[in-house]
């Protein structure tokens, strides 16, 4: 378990004091994938760099499995760092070493005997799917393959925690998904806690259990991914969630405007449904019960999260107010969240 207790970090810069992280309280349970999302400069990197002592908090403390990490120094800190793996946006591999030797680096640091080092590194090469590329140099690998080496290297000393700082930000969407799948697989296989920093909600939704949203050094919202996606509270969270749940939201708004113009009598509703609701025949049920009601689907999407599906659907209902009200009541009965976007 990782606990951030009132953690603050202020940098003294030439332009004056800069508070990069302010009063952060977070608890990360063993074996979970904890996402931290926020725009550039929000303090995500600074927060996680305090986890392995690359930065020292100016206030508060951080405990890992009950041990206070803040205040450690010298060999104690180095010992602890060996148990915290880290992967980076730009991979940070040693170009002078082959894949296998890069993975052996942390083992050398930890003083693992030569033979064991080699066996372990080979095992990790296989685990991340790079068998056959042991003797390649990083310059001969693609971005995705480099990050696989990064992951293998981070796992070498059997860490308790894996920190991923924008590890997929330099990769294309396909490769991003491959690396995220790999992280999820490792998380499940080894019951390893992962702290995943990103500015893409996609990554959060795909593999995280919990998420914290950071803005100007503060955690402004946190909770399970499912809840945060379903019911974002803060403006910034809504922006992140909307970007992800509905990347074409701006398109949808244009369509909605058009529809409102062309069907001034219509009622436009947004439905949000979760988990198994997404499988219910909601629309056909409405049509079935209110045959006089005209129902058209404007736009819809379903996304999978670790806890289940989240779907959004925009419907336009045209008919007399009894039918419309009845349909709304029916939706409520089916426990679908509805929001009337436009009503006459």
């Amino acid at each position: 378990m990782i606990e951030f207790k009132d953690v603050t970090k202020t940098f003294n810069t030439k332009e004056g004091d800069l508070t990069a992280v302010a009063d952060v309280n977070l608890t990360i349970e063993d074996g979970e994938i904890y996402g931290i999302v926020g725009y550039s400069g929000a303090g995500k990197s600074t927060l996680t760099r305090m986890l392995n002592g690359l930065e020292t908090p100016t206030g508060g403390e951080i405990d890992i499995n009950g041990d206070k990490i803040t205040g450690l120094s010298g060999s104690e800190l180095r010992q602890k760092r060996q148990k915290i793996g880290m992967i980076f946006q730009h991979f940070n591999l040693l170009w002078s070493r082959t894949v296998l030797k890069n993975i052996m680096f942390p083992l050398e640091v930890a003083g693992v005997p030569r033979k064991e080092r080699k066996e372990k590194a080979q095992h990790l090469v296989d685990l991340v799917g790079l068998t056959g590329r042991e003797n390649s140099y990083p310059s001969e690998l693609s971005g995705g393959q480099k990050q696989r080496v990064g992951v293998a290297r981070a796992l070498a000393n059997d860490p308790e925690i894996l920190i991923s700082d924008e590890a997929t930000s330099a990769l294309d969407p396909q490769t991003t998904d491959e690396v995220l799948d790999l992280l999820l697989e490792i998380n499940k296989k080894m019951n390893l806690s992962i702290v995943l920093i990103t500015h893409e909600m996609h990554a959060i939704r795909k593999i995280c259990d919990h998420v914290a949203v950071m803005d100007s050094g503060r955690v402004v919202e946190q909770g399970t991914v499912f809840n945060v996606f379903r019911n974002p509270q803060q403006e910034i969270t809504k922006r992140f969630v909307n970007e992800e749940v509905d990347p074409s939201l701006s398109d949808t708004n244009i369509v909605l405007d058009d529809l409102i113009k062309s069907y001034p009598n219509g009622t436009i509703v947004q439905l949000v449904f979760h988990g198994d609701q997404a499988k219910l025949p909601i629309v056909s049920e409405i049509i079935h019960q209110y045959p006089d009601l005209q129902v058209s689907i404007i736009e819809g999407s379903i996304h999978q999260t670790q806890e289940g599906a989240i779907g959004t659907l925009y419907l336009q209902l045209i008919g007399n107010s009894d039918n419309v009200d009845g349909a709304m009541a029916l939706l409520k009965k089916m426990r679908v969240e509805t929001e009337v976007i436009h009503h006459d």
Binding site: R78, K80, R81, M86, N92, L93, W95, S96, R97, P106
Partner: protein, 227 residues
Amino acid sequence: MTNGSYFAFKTVDWGNMGAATWETIWMTIVSMIAVAILGVLLGLLLFETTASNNFAVKALNWIVSFLVNVFRSIPFIILIMLLLPITKNLVGTIIGPTAALPSLIVSAAPFYARMVELAFHEIDRGVIEAAEAMGASQWQIVYKVLLPESMPALVSGATVTTISLIGYTAMAGAIGAGGLGNLAYIDGFQASNNTIVLVATVIIVIIVFIFQFIGDFLVRRIDKRTL
């Protein structure tokens, strides 16, 4: 008398020429070994002490940096004269190849130290930080990250330094340190034998080419950044 001819090869004492060649190579290699060691140590010291908040460390950086700049600015020929008393104390003589070593080393080490410092600065910060995050000690970072990652730059810097050292040995030779420079000056210039000057020149050029070739070859072998 050779009438100023450049091609009176009969007048060349090839035994002397061989001995002088060997002296030049010996001075170059021995001083380069010392320069490499000192340069890497000084470069490392400069690298590690930049960007420190500690006042004592800052002061150390400033002093070393200042001395390096001073010694880099002194023309070699003047440095030899400046170091004469020290050389005499250290080596016991001011004549011959060994006597040239202190000035060769003192002049080239600061030059190489700056190149080493620059090579270390060119290493991606992120890679050093990754090593730190893995729990590497300062010393492990030096010999597992800084040195191997900057090796191509260190070797090409060493090649450039070696070549300028060859030039320095010739200059040192002119004031009594032995080697091809000395031969060209005494037996060539002072005896008005242009052939000897020419032959010594050709041999020096060949030595320079050989060192350049070895350096380039090594850099190509080590550099895995682009393939």
